[in-house]
Amino acid sequence: MTFDNLVTATHMSELINTAMLLFMAVTALAVAKLRNLFAVVMLTGIYSLVAAALYVVLDAVDVAFTEAAVGAGVATVLMLGTLALTKDTEKVTTGGNALKALVLVTITGAVLIWATFDMPLYGDPTAPINEHVAPRYINDSGKETGVPNIVTSVLASYRGYDTMGETFVIFTAAAGVITIIGRAPKKRRRKDKGGSEA
């Protein structure tokens, strides 16, 4: 029995997916319940890591890269930096109506699940999304663009304008933030020269 036969016979992929989704659910519940903010920040990093592993199992490696870099990397570092400026336990708040919130969340979740009943089966080759441009990308992207990776060819060539817009937006946002917040003020107060410094 080959390894592939063993995997499909024991439904190993489905088991791994279910186990990782269970991990994510347990981590999310722990994030909501814990009061120690340092542990919460670490748990959000763990959540992103398990999500990245799930994306790898689902064959979306580029999404896994992004999730690991942003979620487990940058977001955790930023939150730890913020945590250095505040207290490390969450302030206990009382009040608020938990029952109404639970009802609203249940109704929204039920409606969302009901909406998935009309969707095609996961990975169905005859689903409309696999018949529009995906065959052209798969068949012709190597000849037309010369890029070996299909995802890269879609990002950089077929939808190049979208990528350009994204780059514009991120650059403008960073430039705007630096312009508004400015640089750190100089230590010495300038008495006689009323210059224009931030």
């Binding site: 705007g176 312009t179 508004i180 917040i181 400015g182 006689d192 020269k193 009323g194 224009s196 931030a198």
Partner: protein, 115 residues
């Protein structure tokens, strides 16, 4: 009818472009953090609002107009919230706004020093 809509669109987009440029110049040239944030808020409200309004005139009564108005509503919710959070954080960090009298003093000292 189409000509009227075109004129309205031109007017709205021109006014929006004017506010965008003014906001951008203010964002760069102002000395005070709070003045810069006020200039940036011009971009989000008048600049974006006027340009979107002009585009709504062009789109007519279609789904595109609804989407544009939803984008506008979303920005009107998030932009003041983020500005408020930023200003509150600056005040908590100890950055004080420059009052008008101090600004005039500084300008007078600058002109005396250079003049």
């Amino acid at each position: 009818m189409q000509a009227t809509l075109d004129i309205l669109t031109w007017a709205c987009i021109a006014i929006g472009a004017f506010f965008l440029i003014v906001g951008a110049i203010g964002m760069i040239r102002f000395d005070d953090l709070y003045a810069r944030m006020h200039a940036a808020s011009l971009i989000d409200t008048m600049g974006l609002g006027m340009v979107m309004l002009g585009l709504c005139f062009q789109a007519g009564w279609t789904l595109t107009t609804a989407k544009l108005l939803m984008i506008l509503a979303f920005v009107f919710f998030t932009s003041p919230t983020s500005t408020y959070a930023l200003v509150r954080a600056s005040l908590a960090a100890g950055v004080l706004p420059e009052v008008a009298a101090e600004g005039r003093e500084r300008a007078k000292r600058a002109s005396e020093a250079s003049g």
